[in-house]
């Protein structure tokens, strides 16, 4: 498909700082004219429509609910973006979330202090991600298959650890913090904003980010250009695990309940948001602002439709449709463009994924 490849040739380490910033900015504006622009327009349009057409949408408490609801998805979408740009995928994030919640509940019941438990949970997340990373980089296994396996494994372990209990007597200081809002802005959204800024900087303004784009576009070329493909992928998966367990902390405190089935089904919502945000499933293309807008868009659509008493099945249907449309539209655009310009034989890269 027609790619706005961020790098025409594999990156070398010796680019100047200005060229870096220029290149990143140029990439961003280029993309903005395309997909992200569309998402932004859609987002604004839906928000305007909802404010006027749907009763109860445009007030501070609803906005805060909306933002709260999308918190975990947003957190996991940050690292998922990087993983998918690197031409991999991680379907086990929600199970890592569940496992982390289960560990939290188990340790809490065992009497440990919550301040001790939280870093342990992050460690658990890192471990889960590292296992994924090892299997993908050291053994060269396809990440789709690996993460489907760990998706089941981690969720299963969560059930084994916490069983059928639901741990609910969590400290009110933390559960209160998780639901705290300043007018329409919840406290956790500030956390998400900070993390998002961090991720955006890493992806769009550092050498690491360029390396990720490079290895997502063409892994072999990037390898020969000096990008440490395996190491980067490993740490991406690990980071994905850490962010998933971070999301689990927010989730558990927000709902004041640690259960083994926390977060079931979230991975599909995260992948849907990332793809809707313009990240190419083949890797090498995408932007973090686009993903954030997509997360918000999906949250707004869902919130508005529920407020308008639209039936649940329509919500699912709309999500599915949006997902397909997000990939279909560029393809159809490409087909149309190809028909109107001179034909040429195109070979898609035979890069493994």
């Amino acid at each position: 498909m027609p790619a706005e490849k961020p790098a025409r040739s594999p990156e070398t380490p010796a680019r100047s700082a200005e060229a870096t910033a220029e290149g990143a900015f140029g990439r961003l504006t280029g993309l903005a004219r395309r997909w992200e622009g569309l998402i932004l327009v859609l987002l604004v349009a839906v928000m305007l429509w909802a404010s006027f057409a749907v009763d109860g949408f445009a007030n501070p408490s609803n906005v805060s609910f909306l933002l709260l609801d999308t918190t975990e998805i947003a957190i996991m979408a940050l690292t998922m973006t990087l993983v998918i740009v690197a031409a991999e995928i991680d379907l086990s994030v929600a199970s890592t979330l569940g496992l982390s919640c289960a560990v939290l509940g188990w340790l809490w019941n065992a009497g440990l202090a919550i301040e001790t438990i939280m870093p342990i949970c992050l460690l658990v997340g890192a471990l889960c991600g590292a296992v994924n990373g090892l299997l993908v980089t050291r053994l060269g296994l396809p990440s789709l298959a690996v993460t489907i396996g760990t998706f089941a494994l981690y969720r299963g372990l969560a059930y084994v650890i916490l069983g059928d209990q639901a741990v609910a007597d969590l400290p009110p200081a933390y559960t209160g913090l998780a639901t705290q809002t300043f007018g329409p802005i919840p406290l956790v959204t500030v956390l998400v904003a900070i993390l998002a800024a961090l991720a955006a900087v890493v992806l769009h303004a550092t050498g690491l980010g360029r390396s990720i784009f490079a290895l997502g576009s063409n892994e072999e070329a990037a390898f020969f250009a000096g990008v440490r493909v395996k190491r980067i992928k490993f740490w991406l998966f690990t980071a994905s695990g850490v962010f998933a367990s971070l999301a689990s902390l927010v989730y558990t405190f927000r709902y004041a309940s640690a259960r083994a089935d926390n977060g079931v089904g979230l991975e599909l919502a995260v992948v849907a948001a990332v793809l809707l945000g313009g990240v190419s499933i083949f890797g090498g293309r995408g932007s973090l602002p686009g993903v954030l807008m997509a997360v918000l868009l999906l949250g707004v659509v869902r919130n508005a439709l529920i407020l308008a008493d639209v039936a649940n099945e329509v919500l699912n249907f709309v999500t599915g449709l949006l997902l397909v449309a997000s990939v279909l539209a560029p393809n159809l655009g490409a087909v149309w463009r190809r028909r109107t310009t001179r034909r040429s034989v195109r070979l898609e890269g035979n890069t493994p994924r």
């Binding site: 998706f151 089941a152 494994l153 329509v314 249907f317 599915g320």
Partner: protein
């Protein structure tokens, strides 16, 4: 097997075909086939070990009734795995099968309940057609519109299930509402073998034979191995991919009917979550997620293995909560094993090549 290893194998096969002595000579191709058989043998060995251990703990597990139950349990997933293989072999995936099963099951059940006059074969045909239609939607999205299969079928997973909910509402069709003749299909036996298992076996043999012997079967493998080469070789890639999805959908429709007959209670949530069981069965059965290799026999064996484990766990009095973890661990073990095997084979072929080249 995929990537560089697969290319080495293909080169070996191609080069070897040109050698004096022709194909079948003890060279690359023989090795490739032997590996494939090893993979399936591995599953058989695992099955034997499973039955052995569980049978030792509780001999009732090996009894006729127990085996019949296991066959019945695995019939539906095996059927779905056969269809999924067709799709996975072309380097795609179909996550929407569970929604297609749900839609077909409810559609069939509701017609049988509300219009008992409609003959059962017509209902079955209708469900298969419905499944084929859903498969066609997937096929068009993936084959024609070039939407990546993961995304397309994720979307249709949601969309079809949404349609299912919209049609079903809160309605639940019970065994009492459906004609006895239909329900007996779900529990009946022919010569001691459950009818549903028989249907699955027939489908398996038919599809397996076609994959192995008909040109379009070989073309599916070619498409999965190297899509660009397939295009250049003149294979009608679009047509084949769409067909693969349509057949998968049709089989899912049939599985939906089987579900309704077997379980008797049908509502909007039928088969939710089953798509991952199917993919697990397919991967454990040796079908590469990259496409290009694996057989339907392996996939069916994978389905059988996973169902047997579920039953064995219940018999062994292992906590049911461990089931999910075990499935996941098995899946990972299967792909690791595949990878190790592929590396070994590639190394062996490389050695042989250099030796022969001297």
């Amino acid at each position: 097997m995929s990537g560089p290893e697969a290319e080495v194998l293909r080169d070996a096969g191609a080069a070897e075909a040109a050698l004096p002595g022709g194909p079948g000579a003890p060279n690359g191709r023989g090795l490739v086939e032997r590996v494939a058989r090893v993979r399936e043998l591995g599953i058989v060995v695992a099955l034997v070990a499973l039955f052995g251990v569980t049978g030792a703990v509780n001999p009732a597990f090996l009894g006729f009734d127990s085996l019949r139950d296991i066959l019945l349990n695995s019939a539906i997933i095996a059927m779905l795995a056969v269809g999924q293989t067709l799709v996975v072999v072309t380097r795609n995936v179909d996550l929407s099968v569970s929604s297609i099963v749900g839609l077909a099951a409810f559609g069939g059940a509701v017609i049988l309940a509300d219009d008992p006059g409609v003959p059962i074969p017509v209902v079955i045909a209708g469900c298969v057609l419905l499944g084929a239609l859903c498969g066609a939607v997937n096929g068009l999205l993936v084959g024609v519109a070039k939407v990546p299969a993961l995304v397309a079928t994720l979307g249709t997973l949601y969309a079809f299930r949404g349609i299912d909910f919209a049609v079903a509402g809160g309605r639940q069709v019970n065994a009492a509402d459906m004609p006895e003749a239909f329900l007996s299909l779900g529990s009946g036996s022919v010569l001691g073998l459950p009818l549903l298992a028989l249907v699955a076996v027939v489908v398996l043999l038919a599809v397996g034979w076609m994959m192995g012997n008909l040109p379009w079967g070989r073309e599916l493998y070619a498409i999965g191995s190297n899509p660009d080469a397939a295009v250049l070789a003149g294979i009608r890639v679009r047509r084949r991919v769409v067909t693969a999805f349509v057949v998968n959908g049709a089989l899912a429709g049939l599985a939906g009917v089987m579900w309704a007959a077997r379980f008797g209670t049908v509502d909007a949530t039928v088969a939710t979550g089953k798509e991952l069981d199917v993919i697990a069965a397919v991967v454990v059965g040796g079908v590469a997620i990259f496409g290009g290799s694996g057989t339907v026999y392996g996939a069916a064996l994978g389905a059988l293995l996973l169902s047997s484990i579920t039953s064995a766990l219940a018999v062994l009095r292992v906590d049911a909560l461990a089931q999910t973890a075990i499935n996941g661990a098995l899946l990972i073990a299967a792909i690791v094993l595949d990878r190790v095997l592929a590396l070994r084979v590639a190394a062996a072929l490389r050695r042989r090549r250099y030796r022969d080249a001297r």
